[in-house]
């Protein structure tokens, strides 16, 4: 199975595990969408934003001595986006509506990010 298929499978499983997610995507650290599953919106723009948050998060971690960047989030009054490092080459972003189960999102998305990382590092 090609990496893109593997990634789509991971995103599909993630969304099935957390039905409150309205979008999940994997992008390169340069902001190119590799795989996405979205109810609506522009995958190109969301991928670029996720990669930007990743880059900024990494720099902030370096600056305060926080070690290797893992994840960050952006919350609005109607929803949140969670951004996870997925190895050296990629970022995983998920979007959820307000009131979603954050613990479940983190549990499933962290595992998905780890799988994404393994797939892309193998390439």
């Amino acid at each position: 199975m090609a990496a893109a298929d593997d990634l789509n499978t991971i995103l599909g499983r993630l969304r099935a595990s957390v039905p409150e997610l309205s979008a999940a995507l994997v992008a390169t650290t340069d902001g190119l969408p590799i795989a996405h599953s979205m109810n609506a919106g522009d995958a190109n723009r969301l991928a670029a934003m996720a990669a930007t948050a990743l880059g900024l998060g990494r720099r902030i971690c370096e600056t305060y001595g926080g070690g290797e960047f893992r994840e960050t989030s952006v919350s609005g009054d109607q929803g949140q986006m969670y951004i996870y490092s997925a190895g050296s080459k990629a970022v995983l972003g998920v979007v959820a509506r307000s009131g979603a189960n954050v613990g479940l999102i983190h549990l499933e998305a962290r595992d998905a990010a780890s799988q994404v990382s393994q797939i892309l590092e193998r390439r």
Partner: protein, 195 residues
């Protein structure tokens, strides 16, 4: 920041079509005319800063008492330009000006406008003071225009590249990602709405 000034300079020069770049023939001509051009130093140094200090936007770039130091920097550039050689070191210096301009708050419109003034001032002086024969005058101005184009390209593009590099380094957003963000942002931009 990752890219060196030498790399940035080379990449900018490579973008210029050879016919538009300052050439070895231009260099030979300028060095031959150097004895006649050297006395224009006072005119350039005074006129250049008279213009800048007469306009509030450009005058605001300078601190009080700085004019003599700035004039000396321009004089050094003019002498070095007339002495040659136009080697990697010279072009890297012109690219470094872009970096200095960011730090000093000198914008590209200011730089480009003053290059226009320099060319006009030189043209006037070549006609009125140096009194070159018409053919030599035309050739000289062509060489000076190619020098101006080359230096302007180096200074302006170095300004942009160093600005982006600093932003990239500070934010952790790679240059490739910056380019992607710009492409995504401008994909839906309709320039016809700004005519």
């Amino acid at each position: 920041m990752s890219a060196s000034l030498a790399e940035i300079t080379e990449s900018i020069l490579a973008q210029l079509p050879p016919a538009t770049r300052f050439s070895t023939e231009d260099e030979a001509l300028l060095l031959r005319l150097a004895p006649a051009l050297a006395p224009l130093e006072d005119l350039l140094a005074k006129g250049f800063y008279d213009i800048l200090f007469a306009h509030s936007e450009t005058a605001a770039v300078f601190s009080s008492g700085e004019r003599a130091e700035r004039e000396m920097a321009l004089r050094r550039w003019w002498r070095r330009t007339l002495e040659g050689p136009f080697d990697a070191r010279y072009w890297q210096w012109q690219a470094a000006v872009g970096l200095i301009h960011i730090r000093r708050g000198v914008s590209n419109p200011m730089m480009l406008a003053m290059w226009g003034w320099i060319l006009n001032a030189l043209q006037g002086a070549l006609i009125e003071s140096v009194k070159l024969p018409p053919q030599e005058m035309v050739r000289s101005m062509e060489a000076l225009h190619r020098l101006a184009a080359t230096v302007q390209a180096l200074t302006a593009e170095s300004y942009l590249q160093h600005y982006l590099l600093a932003l990239s380094h500070a934010s952790g957003v790679s240059i490739d990602l910056v380019h992607r963000l710009v492409a995504v942002e401008l994909a839906g931009f309709d320039p016809s709405g700004h005519g």
